[in-house]
């Protein structure tokens, strides 16, 4: 297996775990006492993942907020600036294909892996069309312990933690469908046809940034 593929697999595992870890709510269950957190809907995973993998889209969404919310404007300005100053759109970008309902990538393998090592559990229901619906993910105590103890010693992974916190801060309260709706407002995203990679929108971001802050990125 090539290094690139290996790296992709590793990165996917980490990102998906961190999404489940950071964006989940407290949970207690007598049936599964080891489950401590719950995360609902795969769509939400996908949408958050999209924002992590595409810093230009994140910047765009943040600028949308800045345009409407003067309180957050200066803070967002600094965030967007630092995203571009550190060349994140080029450095951190992991292209994602568009699927039926927007950005989507098969994460079943990742979920399977996380489950096999006892990090998560999950449940789902099948509807009358035999479609899997109402996916629920649970983070185990084992995972929480491991994350809390290990991650602070791994500096290369810190960016992910900061990014999750940032997204959580601005978009954590949105459901998958809500996230999807806002992402759909972006022309490039909307116009990307099925199974094609969603393109960069840095030019749009730079223009928007200039029109809001009268400053070049």
């Amino acid at each position: 297996m090539e290094l690139d593929e290996q790296v992709r697999i590793y990165k996917d595992r980490l990102r998906i775990f961190l999404i489940l870890f950071y964006f989940s709510d407290e949970f207690t269950s007598t049936e599964h006492p080891e489950y401590k957190k719950i995360f609902k809907s795969e769509v939400r995973i996908q949408k958050i993942d999209f924002l992590i993998r595409n810093p230009d889209y994140l910047a765009y969404e943040l600028l949308l907020i800045a345009a409407n919310d003067t309180d957050k404007r200066q803070e967002i300005k600094q965030i967007v600036k630092s995203i571009y100053d550190s060349s994140e759109p080029q450095l951190r970008r992991l292209e994602m294909e568009r699927f039926f309902f927007g950005a989507y990538e098969d994460i079943d393998d990742v979920i399977g892996f996380l489950k096999s090592i006892g990090f998560i559990g999950f449940t789902s229901r099948k509807n009358s069309d035999l479609k899997t619906i109402e996916k629920q993910y649970f983070v185990t105590q084992l995972a929480i312990t491991k994350a809390n103890s290990a991650i602070s010693n791994l500096p290369a992974l810190e960016w992910y933690i900061r990014r999750c916190e940032l997204i959580n801060n601005y978009f954590g309260n949105l459901s998958g469908s809500q996230l999807k709706v806002s992402q759909y407002q972006i022309e490039e995203y909307r116009n990307t046809s099925f199974k094609n990679f969603i393109g960069e929108i840095s030019e749009t971001v730079k223009n928007d940034f200039y029109s809001i802050f009268n400053e070049r990125l």
Partner: protein, 705 residues
């Protein structure tokens, strides 16, 4: 022809009563013999070439494929149209030139080809009588003979001597004897003309006459002569001879006589008494004119002294010029600087673009390296994060993976989850090598960083330079506007120039006029002196009157000839009109005047032969000769030999229409006049193949001999 010579004389005498008596006029004209010499009636004779043969060897110094080939050409030729079809430069013209050589004694073969040919035999007939011309060309001087029988084998010395009409050992002799022979046969005589001696400074008038060779031009129509209807200045002589109109010879004789007399008159320094008187009058006039000029000259000399002072103007002009030079130099330098600035700016801009591109490239590379670094670091740390984690459960069935299961899997080298054999799995990813790679990338990035910094500082430098250059540009432009308006200077300069030149003109014409007057005075003085030193009267005192008499006689005879020949000329011009139309020319009418000039009416204009479009001249020429022959055949007038050689009639006018009509014409000639005339045609036009019975077709690239 009703022409009474005696009444012609007495009529002339009446006009010159008191100057010449009838007997004086008779002596002067002396036309008794010439009066009966011409008749337009055909001799009924025709020339037919029956056979041509020649032998030799193609000796050449070049290595040609035909080198040293033996030539043995024999060709029967028939009445009617005979065609040689062969590519150009394959010897058609040479055949015709051989025939011409044998019939006229004039060798116009190319020297190298003439060298090849040793013996020539041409059998021809005049009506039913056969003759053979033989030339031995193997030596420097030719030996040639004419026999009055048909001979088809080259005669050896002394052979057929009884049938020999003459024998020549030189070309000139052969030519003159042939001329005699053919002139006699066809009732030709030598129409004459005068020409100035070709010897420089000689004012002798030479008399020349048409030879057989001259008339042969009406037989052999060479492609090179297409642009002229009749050959050279003697063309009308040939035409007149072929027509044989009454009084042609007397007119010719008197014209020569008149030319000679006029020449003599010019040479004579003879004056009669009236002229002396005139001279006295002339002298008085000349003196008067001389006095006038002397007076004018002295006036001019006075005027010259009062010439306008133009020195100040010249001075101002020079100063202005200097000022302009200074401004021009400034402007030149400035323009140079601007040019230089522009060039530098362009260079700077180009360099800037290059550096920017380079910088972008390096930045991209740096980020790529950075991304690889990040990937490696993440990979290693994620590896650590997920390490020491045992399989806990099957994600599919949620059954726990027990330590026994795991142990079994390790021993069996299988996967604890899917039980696949993993013994052959080799992890490509070696953490040591990854660290090494990371170090490499760090080094690469450092290098890139240095390059990027260097480029960045260069870019800064360039930007600074560009700003500086822009500043210089603005300065230069400001300077440019400060340069004096040379336009105004120029205008003033021009004004001055004009004023000066006008002033000078006022002076200069005085100079030239002065010179002119002095010159005229000298001429006048000379003429007066000449008049004073008049020679004594010499020579023929009546020469002027004689010339007038001759001119009158010629004029009268011309009118009589033209009136008498009218019906013949009409017949000829009608024939020509039909012929040119048949050949596809847009000529509606043809006229012939008393000087034998032929005019072609085309689109309402009367054109001379040379004015007809080049592409139509050959057809007009063909029409001319065919008509002359037809005039003989159909109307029994004229004395063309009814024999034509047409070399390359399709060369210049190769359009399809022309060739079609030519083919048609040739066919028609064959059917209508096949028994009455003979035409030899040489052509490279394959479309003329199979137009007539007697044809000699040579395939492509094949030599005729």
């Amino acid at each position: 022809m009703k022409f009474d010579y005696n009444s012609f004389i007495s009529e002339l005498q009446k006009e010159f009563d008191g100057t010449f008596s009838e007997s004086e006029i008779k002596d002067l004209l002396n036309l008794e013999e010439e009066i009966i010499k011409d008749t337009p009636l055909s001799t009924g004779k025709r020339l037919v070439v029956n056979y041509v043969s020649f032998t030799g060897k193609k000796s050449t110094e070049d290595a040609q494929d035909f080198k040293d080939e033996i030539i043995d050409y024999r060709q029967e030729i028939y009445s009617g149209v005979n065609i040689w079809v062969a590519d150009n430069l394959k010897g058609k013209s040479s055949i015709f030139k051989v025939i011409k050589f044998a019939l006229t004694g004039d060798n116009s073969l190319k020297p190298n080809i003439s060298k090849w040919i040793d013996h020539i035999l041409v059998v021809f007939s005049i009506n039913d009588k056969k003759y053979t011309a033989y030339i031995n060309n193997s030596k420097r001087q030719i030996n040639a003979a004419l026999y009055n029988k048909e001979i088809k084998s080259y005669p050896v010395e002394g052979e057929y001597s009884e049938e020999q009409l003459f024998f020549s050992t030189s070309k000139d002799d052969f030519q003159s004897k042939l001329k005699e022979f053919f002139f006699h046969q066809f009732d030709y005589y030598s129409l004459r003309w005068t020409q100035k001696s070709p010897i420089k400074d000689s004012d002798d008038l030479l008399e020349a006459g048409a030879s057989w060779l001259t008339y042969f031009k009406s037989i052999f129509l060479e492609s090179k002569d297409t642009a002229e209807l009749m050959y050279g200045g003697q063309g009308t002589k040939v035409f007149q001879m072929l027509l044989g109109l009454y009084l042609t010879s007397p007119i010719n004789k008197l014209t020569i006589e008149k030319d000679k007399m006029m020449h003599l008159k010019g040479k004579q320094q003879s004056f009669d008494s009236r002229e002396v008187l005139e001279n006295e009058e002339k002298k008085v006039q000349l003196q008067k004119r001389l006095d006038e000029l002397t007076e004018k000259l002295s006036k001019l000399m006075q005027a010259e002294r009062q010439s306008v002072d133009i020195i100040s103007m010249v001075k101002e002009y020079d100063q202005l010029l200097a000022a302009m030079e200074v401004e021009n130099a400034k402007s030149f330098k400035l323009n140079n600087d601007i040019q230089k600035n522009r060039k530098q700016k362009t260079e700077t801009y180009e360099r800037k673009q290059f550096v920017e591109e380079e910088l972008n490239k390096l930045k991209k590379e740096f980020i790529k390296a950075e991304k690889q670094q990040t990937d490696i670091k993440e990979y290693l740390e994620i590896g650590i994060f997920f390490s020491n984690l045992d399989l806990k459960a099957c994600p599919s069935c949620s059954h726990p993976v027990t330590s026994e299961k795991k142990q079994r899997a390790v021993t069996a080298h299988t996967c604890a989850l899917c039980s696949d054999d993993v013994s052959e799995d080799i992890s490509d990813v070696n953490t040591d090598s990854l660290s090494a790679k990371s170090d490499e990338l760090t080094k690469l990035q450092e290098g890139l960083k240095i390059s990027i910094e260097a480029l960045k500082s260069e870019l800064d430098e360039i930007t600074k330079n560009a700003k500086e250059l822009s500043k210089v540009k603005i300065q230069l432009e400001q300077q440019q506007s400060s340069i004096k308006d040379t336009g105004a200077l120029n205008t003033r300069l021009f004004e001055l120039q004009r004023a000066i030149s006008e002033e000078r003109k006022k002076v200069r014409p005085l100079d030239s006029e002065k010179n002119d007057i002095i010159e005229k005075k000298a001429v006048l003085n000379y003429r007066i002196k000449q008049l004073n030193e008049l020679p004594q009267r010499t020579g023929d005192q009546k020469i002027e009157q004689k010339i007038q008499l001759l001119a009158k006689a010629i004029d009268k005879l011309n009118k009589i000839r033209f009136a008498d020949g009218q019906s013949i000329l009409k017949k000829l011009s009608d024939l020509m009109t039909d012929e040119v139309k048949a050949l596809g020319l847009r000529i509606t009418e043809i006229t012939i005047n008393d000087r034998f000039d032929i005019k072609y009416k085309q689109d309402g204009d009367y054109l001379s032969f040379s004015e007809i479009a080049e592409g139509e001249q050959l057809r007009a020429k063909l029409a001319f000769y065919l008509s002359l022959i037809q005039l003989d055949i159909e109307h029994n007038y004229g004395r063309h030999t009814r024999f034509l050689i047409i070399d390359s009639p399709g060369k210049e006018e190769g359009d399809k229409n022309y060739l079609d009509s030519l083919t048609r014409l040739i066919k028609e000639l064959e059917t209508r006049f096949g028994d009455d005339l003979q035409i030899l045609i040489g052509t490279a036009e394959r479309s003329l193949e199979n137009a007539v019975t007697h044809q000699n077709i040579f395939p492509e690239n094949v030599y005729v001999f």
